[in-house]
């Protein structure tokens, strides 16, 4: 540890609403291959708005919450700096560019999606995109199958109920979440 943990932003200026908006706006411009590393670099190393520990703590909260982690991060961070309007500024700054990119992609897809060459390219990319999700799951699941406990069963039951049975997400969560949390609580004692 290079620094003593200080209260948040005690010696750095609190970013303004415009700072929050443009910080996230800039992060999305460098967005190929994940925005998290860029966010961490800008907040902790360049602007020094947060210490590394504070960043990790906020990120842990955002992983714990439902919804896209990085979108949650904009809200938590903006809100800590400037309250609800700060959260909105950071959130909007983060969404402008990806929204425009995707809107353009959508317009192009609706117009050229049936062109033969486009069809063939997408026919190749779609199985690869599915493969990337398979790899993500394998990486996340591997440590769970190495430990003892209910986690692998919860994981398989959830994947089976949604992936093969195609049951509605809400009902599966209503049953699985209390079961799994209860088991985790019981295991801890």
């Amino acid at each position: 540890m290079s620094e003593i943990a200080a209260p948040p932003s005690s010696n750095t200026p609190i970013p303004s609403h415009a700072d929050l908006f443009f910080a996230f706006f800039k992060i999305t411009l460098s967005g190929f291959g994940g925005t998290l590393p860029w966010t961490q670099r800008m907040f902790v190393e360049q602007k020094r708005w947060m210490t590394a520990e504070e960043f990790n703590e906020v990120y842990a909260l955002c992983q714990f919450l439902p919804g896209p982690n990085i979108v949650n991060l904009t809200s938590v961070f903006g809100s800590r700096m400037r309250g609800p309007t700060g959260a909105m500024a950071a959130w909007a700054g983060f969404l402008v560019v990806p929204f425009c990119v995707m809107l353009t992609a959508g317009i192009l897809y609706e117009r050229y999606g049936d062109v033969d060459a486009v069809r063939r390219v997408l026919g190749g990319i779609a199985p690869a995109a599915a493969g990337l999700v398979v790899a993500t799951v394998a990486k996340m699941a591997a440590p769970m199958f190495r430990s003892i406990g209910p986690a692998p069963f919860v994981l398989l039951a959830t994947a089976f109920a949604i992936g093969f049975m195609r049951w509605p997400l809400l009902w599966v969560l209503v049953v699985m979440a209390p079961t799994s949390v209860g088991l985790a609580w019981w295991m801890r004692r």
């Binding site: 967005g31 896209p68 609800p84 897809y109 199985p127 995109a129 959830t158 509605p168 949390v181």
Partner: protein, 177 residues
């Protein structure tokens, strides 16, 4: 016009619910989006769904932007705005409120149990996404091989996934899939 308004309300409600159920991020709700858009409401077919997922993975930006493509396909610009707001809004409001009280129960035992209980569920949800996407996208042996090779390469190497997407696109362009 009335039908349009109805569709926008359906999009807003369904995606706002998904936003609050998306434990594990955007990939966790891919099966539910597929169930709603393809199976229940016939807004699109399997091919269009996997196309849009592929585009959202290949494009820069977070993969939650899949919902923008879906919204645009279903109801144009208004649809894109509604799905994006509904997917990214409610969870951000929740994050704002919890972000302020989080420190208080950061070390509470119940909080750790909740987290430990939710992690395997979120991995299971992403696993369900892998199942749904693979079944929807892999209609030929070549497609199955592409999925397998991509998964293995992404699992065992640190190659940028964009290379895999690019190579798969070229294989497709060559007419091999």
């Amino acid at each position: 016009m009335k039908a349009d308004g109805d569709i926008l309300i359906t999009l807003a409600v369904q995606f706002a619910i998904m936003s609050l159920l998306a434990f594990g991020g955007a990939n966790a709700v891919v099966p539910e989006i597929h169930r709603q858009a393809v199976e229940l409401r016939s807004w699109m077919n399997d091919r269009e769904f996997t196309d849009m997922f592929a585009i959202s993975q290949a494009a820069p930006g977070p993969n939650v932007m899949l919902v923008t493509l879906i919204g645009y396909h279903v109801a144009g610009l208004a649809g894109a705005m509604v799905t994006t707001l509904a997917m990214c809004g409610p969870t951000a409001v929740l994050a704002h409120f919890l972000g302020r009280t989080w420190d208080r129960f950061k070390d509470a035992p119940w909080r750790m149990a909740v987290q430990a209980g939710l992690v395997p569920i979120s991995v299971g949800l992403v696993g369900a996404s892998a199942i749904v996407l693979t079944r929807a996208a892999d209609h030929s042996w070549v497609a199955v091989v592409i999925t397998g090779v991509t998964a293995a390469t992404a699992y065992w190497t640190r190659l940028n996934p964009l290379w895999l997407i690019g190579i798969a696109g070229l294989v497709g362009l060559a007419g091999l899939v």
